[in-house]
C-alpha cells in the first residue's frame, strides 16, 4: 500500500466533485454529493440501491445535466458537466453494464465502431491485426474474428473495457465502470480484475461501482459511500473489514441471515424433471418438493446457467420430460406452464425481464393483471394495492407504483422483477441469479421472500454463482460440471468451503 500513499500526496486529484445536486421531476437523486478520486487509484463508489451512484456517473458522462451550482474538476481543470464530448476530451471513459456491444458483429468490428480509426475507409485486414494486437497485449484469449455473441459474459466485459481504453490512454485517463461484474459469475471476476490491475499499473485512474463487498476489498484502494444522494464517507480500503464495509454502506449492522420459519415440512413433488438434455445440459434430473429451496450452481459453461431456461421452455430441450404437480407439460408452451404453476425469472433482466417504458405497476402485474371475473375489467385501484404490497415486501425504493420502470435504479428494477414472480404464488418458482445488483439489505429481503414462498408450499429453485447466497438460502444445492449434475450437498454438509470445493472438483472430474 506504500505506493498508494505516495500517490496520495500528489496534490491534484483526478476527479474532484463538490455540491453536486441532480433532481428528476421533484426527486433529488443527488443532494450536494462529493467525490474525490486520486490519480492512479482504484476508487470504489458504493451505496445501497437508489443511493445515486449511477446518476453521479451519468452526470460525469454528460448524460444528465446537474442542477446549477455543481463544482466538477477533472485533473484540476473545471469540467463542463452535461457534455459528452468534454468528458471524452478530458480522458474519461465509461463502461456501462449493458456494454453496448453489437452481438451480430465481430470483435474487430465492435472495436472499429467505437474508435477513431472508424473514420473513412476501413481496411479489414489491417483492423483485424490491430485489434488482435491489443487483445494479445492484454493476454486475453479472444479471437478478433469471432462474433460478439459467441463470447462468454466475462470476455464481453473485457472487450468493452479494452474497446474503451485502447485509444492510447495516458496516465491522465480515467475509466469508470458501473457494476461491471453484476452479470459475471464469481469465479470469473478475477479475469476482469487482471485487466483492471494492468490498467492501473499504466497509471490509469479507475472508478468502480459494485455491490459485491469482497470484491471491493480486493480491488479498491479507497471507497466513497453515498447514502440517499449524499456522500457519507470516504475511507481507505485497507482500514476496512467486510463487516465494517457493509455497515458503512447500509448505515446499520446487518446480522447474518438467520433462517426464519423453521424449515417447512417437505410436501408433494411440485416439479419433476427427468432426462432433460439441451445444448450444454445433459440428462438433468430434479424432483422439487413443496417447502424446499434448491440451488443449482457450477462454473460458467457447466450448464448451471442454462438449466432453468430449459425447464421453462425458453430454450428448446432436445429431450427429457417435465411434470408440474401431476401434470405432464413436456410439449407445452410457456403460457401453459405458467398457467399450471411455473414461474421463471431469467437472468437477463434488461432484454428479457421488463417493459422499460411501462410503469412499475404494469411490470409487476404483467403475468396476471388483476381483473374482475365479469367481462375482465381491470380495476386500477386493486392493481395499485397489490403492487404496493409487493414493492413494500421487496423493499423497492421509492414506493411509487406509477414510476416509469426504466427510471428505477438498477437494483430496484431487479426487486420489481423478483416481486412479479413471487406474487404469482406458483407451485415451482425458478430464479436465475436472483440478487444480481442488489444491495446487502435488499438481498436479505429477497432471501427471506424466497424462504417464505417455500414455507407457503412452493418449490423454489435458484441458479446462482454466489456460493454464500446458496449456503444461506438453500436446503440442498446441485453442483454441475460439464453439463451434468456432479454432486449434491444437503443441509448438514452445506458450507461455503464444501460448496466451493464441490464446484471446483466438479469440473476437474469432467
Amino acid at each position: 500500500m506504500s505506493d498508494t500513499i505516495n500517490t496520495a500526496t500528489e496534490p491534484i486529484p483526478a476527479i474532484a466533485i463538490k455540491s453536486l445536486t441532480k433532481s428528476f421531476a421533484g426527486v433529488q437523486a443527488l443532494k450536494s454529493a462529493e467525490l474525490e478520486v486520486r490519480r492512479g487509484e482504484v476508487h470504489a463508489l458504493l451505496g445501497v440501491n437508489g443511493s445515486g451512484k449511477s446518476t453521479l456517473i451519468k452526470v460525469l458522462a454528460g448524460f444528465h445535466r446537474p442542477d446549477p451550482g455543481a463544482e466538477i474538476m477533472l485533473g484540476g481543470e473545471p469540467h463542463e458537466a452535461g457534455s459528452a464530448s468534454a468528458a471524452h476530451a478530458a480522458g474519461l471513459r465509461f463502461i456501462h453494464q449493458d456494454l453496448g456491444l453489437i452481438d451480430t458483429l465481430t470483435v474487430e468490428e465492435n472495436f472499429s465502431l467505437g474508435t477513431k480509426s472508424g473514420r473513412g475507409w476501413l481496411s479489414d485486414r489491417r483492423e483485424q491485426k490491430r485489434v488482435q494486437a491489443i487483445l494479445d497485449r492484454y493476454e486475453v484469449d479472444i479471437d478478433a474474428k469471432s462474433l460478439a455473441l459467441e463470447l462468454s459474459p466475462t470476455h464481453r466485459s473485457i472487450l468493452a473495457i479494452l474497446r474503451a481504453v485502447e485509444d492510447q490512454m495516458g496516465s491522465d485517463g480515467i475509466v469508470v465502470l458501473d457494476e461491471p461484474t453484476a452479470a459475471l459469475p464469481r469465479d470469473e471476476v478475477h479475469q476482469l480484475f487482471r485487466i483492471i490491475k494492468r490498467l492501473k499499473a499504466t497509471g490509469v485512474t479507475i472508478v468502480y461501482v459494485s455491490h459485491r463487498m469482497p470484491e471491493i476489498l480486493e480491488i479498491a484502494d479507497r471507497v466513497t459511500v453515498l447514502r440517499d444522494g449524499r456522500t457519507v464517507a470516504t475511507a481507505e480500503a485497507a482500514d476496512l473489514t467486510l463487516d465494517s464495509l457493509v455497515k458503512l454502506v447500509l448505515g446499520f449492522d446487518l446480522k447474518a441471515l438467520s433462517r426464519t420459519a423453521a424449515d417447512a415440512e417437505l410436501g408433494d413433488v411440485q416439479l419433476s424433471v427427468t432426462g432433460l438434455t439441451g445444448d450444454v445440459v445433459e440428462d438433468f434430473d430434479l424432483e422439487a418438493r413443496a417447502g424446499e429451496v434448491i440451488g443449482v450452481t457450477g462454473l460458467l459453461g457447466s450448464g448451471y446457467e442454462d438449466v432453468l431456461g430449459l425447464v421453462f421452455g425458453a430454450a428448446k430441450p432436445y429431450s427429457g420430460s417435465i411434470r408440474l404437480g401431476g401434470l405432464d407439460v413436456t410439449g407445452e408452451d410457456q403460457a401453459h406452464r405458467i398457467a399450471n404453476g411455473l414461474a421463471y425469472a431469467p437472468a437477463d433482466r434488461k432484454h428479457l425481464g421488463s417493459m422499460p417504458e411501462w410503469s412499475v405497476r404494469e411490470n409487476l402485474t404483467l403475468p396476471d393483471p388483476p381483473s374482475h371475473r365479469f367481462m375482465g375489467w381491470m380495476t386500477k385501484r386493486r392493481e395499485v394495492a397489490e403492487t404496493l404490497e409487493w414493492i413494500e415486501k421487496m423493499d423497492v425504493v421509492p414506493v411509487e407504483t406509477e414510476k416509469v420502470f426504466a427510471t428505477l435504479s438498477g437494483g430496484n428494477q431487479q426487486k420489481v422483477v423478483m416481486g412479479r414472480w413471487l406474487r404469482m404464488q406458483a407451485k415451482a418458482i425458478m430464479l436465475d441469479e436472483p440478487t444480481n445488483g442488489v444491495d446487502a439489505s435488499a438481498k436479505r429481503a429477497i432471501h427471506l421472500a424466497l424462504r417464505e414462498a417455500a414455507a407457503n408450499g412452493a418449490a423454489v429453485i435458484v441458479s446462482s454463482s454466489d456460493i454464500e447466497e446458496l449456503v444461506q438460502v438453500c436446503d440442498r444445492v446441485l453442483v454441475m460440471g460439464d453439463g451434468r449434475i456432479r454432486a449434491q450437498l444437503v443441509k448438514g454438509e452445506l458450507t461455503d468451503d464444501a460448496l466451493n470445493t464441490a464446484v471446483m472438483t466438479a469440473t476437474a472430474a469432467a
Binding site: 421531476a25 449511477s54 456517473i57 451519468k58 458522462a61 454528460g62 448524460f63 444528465h64 445535466r65 442542477d67 457534455s83 459528452a84 464530448s85 468528458a87 471524452h88 474519461l92 471513459r93 465509461f94 456501462h96 449493458d98 453496448g100 465502431l113 467505437g114 474508435t115 474497446r163 474503451a164 485502447e166 458501473d178 457494476e179 453484476a182 421453462f312 425458453a314 410457456q334 403460457a335 406452464r337 405458467i338 398457467a339 431469467p346 434488461k350 432484454h351 428479457l352 425481464g353 421488463s354 417493459m355 422499460p356 417504458e357 404494469e362 403475468p367 396476471d368 381483473s371 375482465g376 375489467w377 381491470m378 416509469v404 426504466a406 427510471t407 438498477g410 428494477q413 412479479r420 445488483g437
Partner: protein, 361 residues
C-alpha cells in the same frame, strides 16, 4: 470509444427490445431547467392546438366554418377514418404495421357495392360476406407475420397489392354501384338530428378502449408490441395475439369500407389508399396525447378530429384539394418530430453527435 454518450449509460437503462415493432412517438417528460422543457409537446397540446384551429377559422371564415354543415361534414368524413384507425391501432399496439388496411377498406367497399348492385345479394348477407372475406385477408396477414415470420411492414405491403388486384378484378376497373337507398340509411340515418355515424364512432372507440386499455387481453396485446421476448416469457401467447390483432385490423377496415359505400353509394377500386395516411397519422399523433408513449384510443380520437378540423378549415378557406394532403403529412411529421426531438434533448443533451449511434439498440 464513443458509446459513452449515445447509449444510455445506466446499468439501469434497459434496452429497447431487439425485435422492436412500431414504437409510439415517445413522450417527453418534464426535467425542468432549460427553455426546451417549457416548450415541450405537452400531453394536452392537441387540445390547445385544436382550440386554436377552431378559433383561427372562426375568425378567418366565420360564415363558412361556423356552420352545422361543417360539423356534419367533419363527422361524416372522419367516421370512416376513425373506424379504420381503431383497427390499425390494435395491430400497432401488438407491434405490427398493417399497411394493407386501407386497401382492405377499398376492397370491402367495392365488394359490398358489387354484391348489392350487381349480384343482387341481400344487403345483410353482402356485408357478412364482405367482413368475413376481409377477416380472412387479416388472418393471412397474421399467419405470414407470426408463423412464416415475415416483417409485418413487408407482408402487408405485399398483400395490399394482391388485395388491390382482387378489387380491380371485381370492379373491372369501373365504378361499382349504386347501392340501394335503404342500404344507404346505414350511414345517412339520423336520430333526433344526430347522425347515426356518431353512434358508430362512439361504439367503435369505446369497444377498442375497453378491450385494449382495460382488460388483461389488451394488456397482453400491448405487451406483445412493447417487448415481444419479455411478453413470451411472462406467458403471453405472442403469436396468437399477433394473428388476432391483424384479423381485428382487417375486420375493422372492412366495416369502415361498408360504411364508406353506404355513404357515397358508388365506389371505384382505387378509393382505399387515400385513407392510409390519415389513419396512421391519427394513431401516431395520438401517442403524443393524453397517455403519452402509448397507443391510446382517446388520444387517437383527439388527433383525428384535430386533423379533420384543420383539413376542413383550410379546404373551406383556400378551396383546393392539395391542402388536405399537405396538412395531413405536415401534421404527422411536425407533431411526431417534435415529440421525438424533445425526447432526445431530454435524454442526451449532447451537442455533437458521437460516431456510434445508439449501438445498443
Amino acid at each position: 470509444m464513443t458509446n459513452d454518450t449515445s447509449v444510455d449509460p445506466g446499468v439501469d437503462a434497459p434496452l429497447a427490445p431487439a425485435t422492436a415493432g412500431p414504437a409510439p412517438a415517445s413522450a417527453p417528460q418534464k426535467t425542468g431547467g432549460s427553455w426546451t422543457s417549457k416548450l415541450q409537446v405537452n400531453r394536452f397540446s392537441g387540445i390547445y392546438l385544436w382550440a386554436a384551429l377552431i378559433l383561427l377559422f372562426s375568425l378567418w371564415i366565420p360564415n363558412l366554418f361556423l356552420t352545422n354543415a361543417t360539423l356534419q361534414g367533419i363527422i361524416a368524413d372522419q367516421s370512416v377514418t376513425i373506424i379504420l384507425a381503431m383497427g390499425v391501432m390494435v395491430a400497432l399496439a401488438a407491434g405490427q404495421y398493417d399497411l394493407s388496411a386501407a386497401q382492405v377498406l377499398g376492397f370491402a367497399a367495392v365488394s359490398t357495392a358489387w354484391l348489392i348492385s350487381v349480384a343482387k345479394v341481400n344487403p345483410v348477407l353482402a356485408v357478412l360476406i364482405t367482413v368475413v372475406g376481409c377477416a380472412i385477408i387479416g388472418l393471412i396477414n397474421g399467419l405470414l407475420v407470426a408463423v412464416v415470420g415475415i416483417n409485418s411492414f413487408i407482408a402487408t405491403l405485399g398483400t395490399s397489392s394482391i388485395v388491390l388486384a382482387l378489387t380491380s378484378l371485381l370492379s373491372g376497373d369501373r365504378l361499382v354501384g349504386p347501392v340501394t337507398d335503404s342500404f344507404k340509411q346505414i350511414a345517412l340515418a339520423k336520430f333526433f338530428g344526430v347522425p347515426v355515424l356518431v353512434a358508430y364512432i362512439i361504439v367503435a372507440s369505446v369497444l377498442v378502449w375497453y378491450v385494449l386499455e382495460h382488460t388483461p387481453v389488451g394488456r397482453r396485446l400491448s405487451a406483445t408490441g412493447a417487448n415481444i421476448e419479455t411478453a413470451r416469457l411472462v406467458g403471453v401467447r405472442v403469436k396468437k395475439y399477433i394473428v388476432v390483432s391483424m384479423v381485428i385490423s382487417a375486420a375493422m377496415a372492412s366495416l369502415a369500407g361498408v360504411l364508406l359505400v353506404a355513404r357515397v353509394g358508388t365506389v371505384s377500386s382505387t378509393i382505399g389508399p387515400s385513407y392510409l395516411l390519415p389513419a396512421f397519422a391519427g394513431v401516431f399523433l395520438g401517442t403524443t396525447q393524453l397517455k403519452p408513449g402509448r397507443f391510446n384510443v382517446w388520444g387517437t380520437l383527439l388527433a383525428l378530429f384535430l386533423l379533420a378540423t384543420g383539413v376542413k378549415g383550410f379546404q373551406l378557406a383556400i378551396g383546393a384539394n392539395w391542402i388536405t394532403y399537405v396538412f395531413n403529412g405536415l401534421a404527422l411529421i411536425v407533431a411526431v418530430g417534435l415529440a421525438v426531438v424533445f425526447e432526445r434533448r431530454r435524454t442526451t443533451k449532447v451537442k455533437d453527435t458521437p460516431k456510434v449511434k445508439d449501438i445498443s439498440n
